[in-house]
Structures are given as structure tokens and as C-alpha cells.
């Protein structure tokens, strides 16, 4: 997934957003670790928050799952000062401390809320006019909404569409946009995982989308990588290109397609590039 880190860095560089690498930050636990040992998982994430806090920066991710897991951990640590104190005891052994107040934001939210979509629109050098894009949020960026700040930021439920439009493309509405991509079932129930991929990619296709875009590398990996099996399951070729958010933005900011990692996709994005005259 390091290549998405590179596309994110390239996009942020173009936009003048300075990134500091948290190279020591551990895995968020992706919800799996939380189900096994919640205190350990929350300690890991609190250590990441503490690192950002120590640098005096807010924390950004390009992954819906990481954002969701971070937000849920933040909520638990904020709501229970005793719990935060207990976790800080462990962090102290590593010479770390977390106050409970670091801002944690997905790149999508940073762009929609802090950078501003008008500003983004001004930065577009290659408008994606004519491209029909189906948004796919990823469960953890929309649920549980109580942990994700939807009360203060109701636009978080529609900002992906708004961003697609700011890039000049057309957002294609479809029911599957907030449903599960099936990634958590890979290796556990591959039949259901592939069926989820099939349902969403085919629905996007039926609605006339040229491609899908997702702010989640895991959704990206499943919707793209499992699509061939999903097609076999239904005896059809689906052929729905799936882009990560940073790749779509990268195209609009004029980054060369070879620098956006499209050669790593299972489903070719050639049709998308052709539509944009690339």
C-alpha cells in the first residue's frame, strides 16, 4: 500500500499541504485487534495520537478504516478520563503521553473542511469534465456516525460527491455507496466477499459510472482486486475501474498517470484515462 502513500504525498505536495511522516506509527488494528484486546489496541492508537501531539500536528489518514478506528478510540479516550489515565500509564513506560485532544482527520475531511473545495477547484489543472464517478465511502468513514463527528459535520455524509464535483466530474448516486465492500470477509467467507464486490460494481455500472472512487485502500483493494472473481460468480465481465481518492485528485491536479500507480490495478483504468484524453 506504500504506493498510495506516494500518491497522497504527490497530491498534498501539489496542494501545498505539508505532510510530516509518522514513520513509527503502528497499525490501527483495523477493528480486528479491537475485537481481540481493546485496551491493547487503544494503547497502540493512543501512542500514534501522542506522536502527532508531540510534533504539535493534527493527524491525517488516507484510509476510511483507519479513520473509523481512530475516531472510535478517540471517543473512548475522551469520554472516560480514567481510561485515558490507565492507557497513559502504559505510554509513560515508552516516555509518551497523550492529552486526549489531537485532531484526527481523513484527507477527504481535510480537503472538504479545512482546505476547502473551492480552493481545490482552483487547483484543478485538468478538469475531469465528462467523467461519471460513483463514490464509495467505506463503512468506517460513515458508521457508527456517533463516533465520526456527523453531528457537528453533517456534510461528512456527502462530501465525497462534493469533492468529485469540485474536480469537474459528475457524481453518480447509487445505493451501494455506503455499504460494505466485503474486504473483512476475505479469507473467511470469500463467496460473500466477492458477492458484495459484484453487487456494488455492477450497480455502479448500471448507473452509468465510468469508474468508482473510494477514500479507503481496503475497499479499493477488494472492489478492484476481487472484481474478476465477482464477475466469474455471476458469469459476466464487470470491468469497473476503481480509483483511490488520491488517484482521482491526482489526475485532476495534472499528475502523470504513470506516477499514480495505475499499473497495479487488477481492472484496467485505460477507459478512464481515454475518456480524459490521456
Amino acid at each position: 500500500m506504500a504506493w498510495l502513500q506516494r500518491t497522497a504525498a504527490a497530491v498534498c505536495d501539489k496542494l501545498g499541504i505539508e505532510l510530516e511522516d509518522l514513520s513509527l506509527a503502528p497499525c490501527t488494528g483495523s477493528g480486528i485487534l479491537q475485537a481481540r484486546d481493546l485496551v491493547y489496541a487503544d494503547t497502540l492508537n493512543a501512542s500514534t495520537f501522542a506522536m502527532a501531539e508531540d510534533m504539535g500536528l493534527s493527524l491525517m489518514t488516507i484510509c476510511s478504516t483507519c479513520q473509523g478506528v481512530f475516531s472510535q478510540a478517540q471517543k473512548r479516550l475522551k469520554e472516560k478520563p480514567d481510561y485515558l489515565a490507565q492507557i497513559n500509564q502504559t505510554l509513560e513506560e515508552q516516555g509518551m503521553k497523550y492529552s486526549g485532544n489531537v485532531e484526527v482527520k481523513h484527507l477527504l475531511w481535510v480537503l472538504a473542511e479545512d482546505y476547502g473545495l473551492d480552493e481545490l477547484r482552483n487547483a484543478v489543472v485538468r478538469s475531469l469534465t465528462g467523467l461519471r464517478v460513483a463514490p464509495f465511502y467505506g463503512c468506517y468513514l460513515v458508521r457508527p456516525s456517533a463516533a465520526l463527528g456527523f453531528d457537528e459535520h453533517p456534510e461528512r455524509g456527502t462530501c465525497l460527491e462534493a469533492l468529485i464535483e469540485a474536480l469537474g466530474a459528475e457524481a453518480v448516486d447509487f445505493r451501494g455507496k455506503t455499504l460494505c465492500c466485503g474486504y473483512p470477509l476475505v479469507g473467511v467467507n470469500d463467496e460473500n466477499s466477492a458477492a458484495m464486490v459484484g453487487t456494488h460494481t455492477l450497480e455502479a455500472k448500471e448507473k452509468g459510472a465510468d469508474c468508482m472512487v473510494t477514500p479507503c485502500p481496503l475497499c479499493h483493494m477488494n472492489l478492484d482486486g476481487v472484481q474478476p472473481q465477482a464477475g466469474e460468480q455471476r458469469d459476466t465481465r464487470i470491468n469497473m475501474p476503481v480509483l483511490h481518492l488520491t488517484q482521482l485528485i491526482g489526475l485532476a491536479l495534472g499528475i502523470d498517470p504513470p506516477d499514480l500507480g495505475f499499473d497495479r490495478h487488477a481492472v484496467q483504468v485505460k477507459s478512464v484515462l481515454e475518456k480524459l484524453g490521456l
Binding site: Q34, G68, P184, G187, N192, M196
Partner: protein, 265 residues
């Protein structure tokens, strides 16, 4: 306020298929979607079929899809779901066969609830007086026991929707959020002695490892039961008690090992 409802209609006796019917009527500002539906039935169309009883979010009869999401009609203000006099879409719950209009066949739902043996199974001689359980243990279980079996979580469950979409017979599909949350209510109860048989049965196909952790059940539950969290608690218990040979359990343990050893995946 003026309420506009678009209601999914289906009457097997009419021979017609599914159709959508729109109603426009004046209702009080405080009207719930259930109030509006009952007013439609009283004043405009007595053929509209729906279930309801307590009107207080306790009986669980009036779960239905409102604007595409499962909710209790009696707990949902019409004004809150209809911005600027937009039409409110009202449909029966999903993942269950429709009997008529907004009335769904809950049989598959109850079969799954029964399958987890939702009763206390203590062992040994009963105490002379009542069983004693510490408050801190019982408190979270009481939150799960607050489930009113309305079926909202089952209606919107992604895994059930996927399996039914693949054409699986309903009795061979995922046990689902409501039944599994109910199961944890007993597994987590220190008076219950059937953990071993419960956890081994629930670890098998269509059980706890088939949940895709999409959080939809947590989002739609009108009583704060957080079914997915209970499924995860069952997973934790199952692994702790040695039911770790299943794919999902092995995947979790492998994941944990990798993160603990390298802090990365």
C-alpha cells in the same frame, strides 16, 4: 406541516406486483411517521397494511425502512426525515419476505432467535435463594437485553442481504445481528453454564465469523444494543475459550501476532 409519503404497496391477492403509492396530507408538526401512516389509514386509504402496537418504541412492531434505512416508525418524526417538504419513502423491512404492504414475515427472524437458545441454562444445584450477579457484570447485559426484537438490524444487515441475493435459502443464511446479540446476553451471563456448546455452535458457518463488521446494525438499532459489538464480544470469548480452529479465529490470531511482533501488518 404537509407530509408527503411514498409507500411501497404489495397485495398478493390483487395479482399486481409491487407498486409505489404517494399520499399528501396535513399532519401536526410533531407527527411521527407512524402517526402519518395511521392517519392515512384513517382518512385516505383503509387498505394500507402495517403493524404497530405500543407507539412508544417498546413493542418493536413498527420497524420499517424509512428513506432506505430501517427505523421504528413510531420513534421517527416525519419532520426529521423530510427536509423541506420532500417525499418520505416508506418501505417494509428488508431481508424478510413481505406479506402485505409494510407487513413482513418475521418467521425466519424468530427461527434464528430460537436457534441460539435464548434462555438461561444454569448447572448444578440451584442456590437456596436467588442467583446473585454483580451489578457491573449485569449492567452491560441489561443493555443487550433491551433489544425489542424489532428486526431493524436484520433488515439492513449487509451479510444477510448478500446471502439472500445469492439465492441461499433463508434458514441457511447468517444467524444475523439480533440473534447473535441475544446469544451474547447469555454467554456473558455468569449464571449460564452452556458457554461451551453455545460458542462452539456459534463459531461454525453462518455464525460469529461471518459478520463483515460494517456497523450497520449499530447504526440502525433503535435501542442502542450495538449488535456488532456483541458479535465481537462473542468472538473474543470464543478465542479465549479455545474455539480457535475456525478461519475467522485463525485470521484474527494471525493478525494479532503480526501486529504484536512488528506493530505493522
Amino acid at each position: 406541516m404537509e407530509a408527503k409519503l411514498r409507500v411501497r404497496r404489495f397485495d398478493p391477492e390483487s395479482g399486481d406486483g409491487v407498486r409505489y403509492q404517494s399520499y399528501v396530507l396535513e399532519v401536526p408538526d410533531y407527527a411521527t411517521v407512524l402517526d402519518v401512516l395511521l392517519q392515512i389509514r384513517e382518512e385516505l386509504d383503509d387498505s394500507l397494511a402495517l403493524r404497530c402496537s405500543c407507539c412508544s418504541a417498546i413493542c418493536g412492531s413498527c420497524a420499517m425502512r424509512i428513506n432506505g434505512q430501517a427505523r421504528l416508525a413510531c420513534k421517527t418524526k416525519a419532520k426529521a426525515v423530510a427536509a423541506d417538504s420532500e417525499e418520505i419513502l416508506v418501505e417494509p423491512v428488508g431481508n424478510m419476505p413481505v406479506i402485505k404492504d409494510l407487513v413482513a414475515d418475521m418467521d425466519p427472524f424468530w427461527q434464528k432467535a430460537r436457534a441460539v437458545e435464548p434462555w438461561l441454562q444454569p448447572e448444578g444445584t440451584p442456590p437456596e435463594r436467588e442467583y446473585l450477579v454483580a451489578h457491573e457484570i449485569m449492567r452491560p447485559l441489561a443493555d443487550i437485553a433491551a433489544c425489542i426484537m424489532c428486526g431493524a438490524c436484520v433488515s439492513d444487515c449487509s451479510v444477510l442481504e448478500t446471502e439472500l441475493g445469492l439465492g441461499k435459502p433463508p434458514d441457511q443464511t447468517f444467524l444475523g445481528p439480533a440473534a447473535l446479540a441475544k446469544a451474547y446476553r447469555y454467554v456473558g451471563d455468569p449464571r449460564d453454564a452452556a458457554d461451551a456448546s453455545r460458542l462452539s455452535a456459534l463459531s461454525r458457518l453462518e455464525g460469529i465469523w461471518d459478520c463483515t463488521r460494517c456497523n450497520i446494525c449499530v447504526e440502525v438499532c433503535p435501542k442502542g444494543v450495538a449488535p456488532m459489538d456483541q458479535i465481537l464480544a462473542l468472538r473474543r470469548k470464543a478465542i479465549e475459550q479455545g474455539y480457535d480452529e475456525y478461519l475467522g479465529a485463525r485470521h484474527t490470531l494471525e493478525f494479532e501476532k503480526t501486529v504484536r511482533e512488528s506493530s505493522w501488518l
